[in-house]
């Protein structure tokens, strides 16, 4: 099976996020005054071949642990959708 994977990498809540703060200031300057708590992360998409969604999840988690996410400052949310046999 082929699965479409999306990984959202976010900065840990306790870590300052200066990109989010800069965007928040820009939005305020544009009179979007009801916006707060802007945080900027990263989205990574790829396709993965696996026997089932459980294996796809396991592989994706291993990829996150090995390379994509630094747990000192980030965490990830994984979503997996089957796209082809």
């Amino acid at each position: 099976m082929v699965y479409q994977v999306q990984i959202i990498i976010k900065p840990l809540e306790q870590i300052a996020n200066p990109e989010g703060q800069a965007i928040e200031r820009a939005l305020a300057a544009l009179s979007f005054s009801t916006i707060d708590s802007v945080r900027v992360g990263k989205v990574i998409n790829f396709n993965i071949r696996a026997v089932d969604s459980s294996e796809a999840h396991e592989l994706t988690q291993a990829i996150c642990n090995k390379l994509l996410v630094n747990p000192v400052m980030q965490y990830s949310e994984i979503s997996i959708t089957a796209v082809a046999d």
Partner: protein, 221 residues
């Protein structure tokens, strides 16, 4: 073959020649080594210089950490060999787990390119053994992601074990406790964000980096 300090060059590294010239200026033996090599050869020390290894894609140091030479660098460090990471090299050392914590984007998003006062915090490292605790050093700083972060437990560990090597005299980038450089417990692995190699030859205007690189050369004998 005489043993020498190996200066690792990744694609995107841009300070390797500065480091090489200044090690030579201080009468040290050094040579460049390409990141695809799998053998450090006759090696007395390793320096990971500054730059943007692998374009800094994903996170600074995250991809460089998996360059073939890094397995050898890690083995060399674990056997007690002196290893120094400068700026991007510091980021690589945290990514590969030889040093604690991580380097995040500067508070205020500003890329800092200034010569700034730093405080030497310990002499228990291969970078600072010839220095004096409390001594102020003027060192060139040149980074966009030098904001040192770690959890409270790691910070306590750093403090309890005297692992903070260098601090900025003032907060410049949001680094916890103004940390500019740290070491491992054994003191043979050190990472710092400022560039000592840009403050060696008096021709460049500053010389406070001499004591740091001289310490490293002494350790690499």
């Amino acid at each position: 073959m005489t043993s020498s300090i190996k200066i690792v060059t990744f694609p995107g590294t841009n300070c390797e020649h500065d480091v090489l010239k200044q090690i030579q200026y201080l009468q040290g033996d050094a040579e460049l080594i390409w990141h695809q090599e799998t053998n450090l050869g006759s090696c007395s020390g390793v320096i990971l210089p500054g730059g943007f290894a692998h374009g800094d894609y994903l996170r600074p140091g995250a991809i460089a950490r998996f360059s073939p030479i890094m397995d050898e660098v890690i083995k060399f460090a674990e056997s007690g060999g002196p290893v120094l990471g400068i700026c991007n090299g510091f980021q690589v050392l945290t990514e590969c787990g030889l040093l604690a914590g991580a380097l995040s984007i500067n508070n205020g998003l500003r890329f800092i390119c200034k010569t700034l006062p730093c405080i030497l915090e310990t002499t228990q490292s291969v970078l600072t053994s010839a220095g004096q605790v409390g001594k102020e050093l003027l060192l060139p700083v040149n980074h966009g992601e030098g904001n040192y972060i770690c959890d409270d437990q790691t910070l306590d560990y750093l403090k309890e074990n005297d692992l903070i090597v260098l601090t900025y005299a003032a907060d410049i980038n949001g680094s916890i406790d103004r940390i500019a450089g740290i070491r491992n417990k054994a003191g043979n692995v050190v990472g710092l964000m400022p560039h000592p190699e840009r403050a060696v030859d008096p021709l460049l205007g500053y010389t406070d980096g001499q004591i740091l690189l001289q310490s490293f050369i002494n350790a690499a004998k």
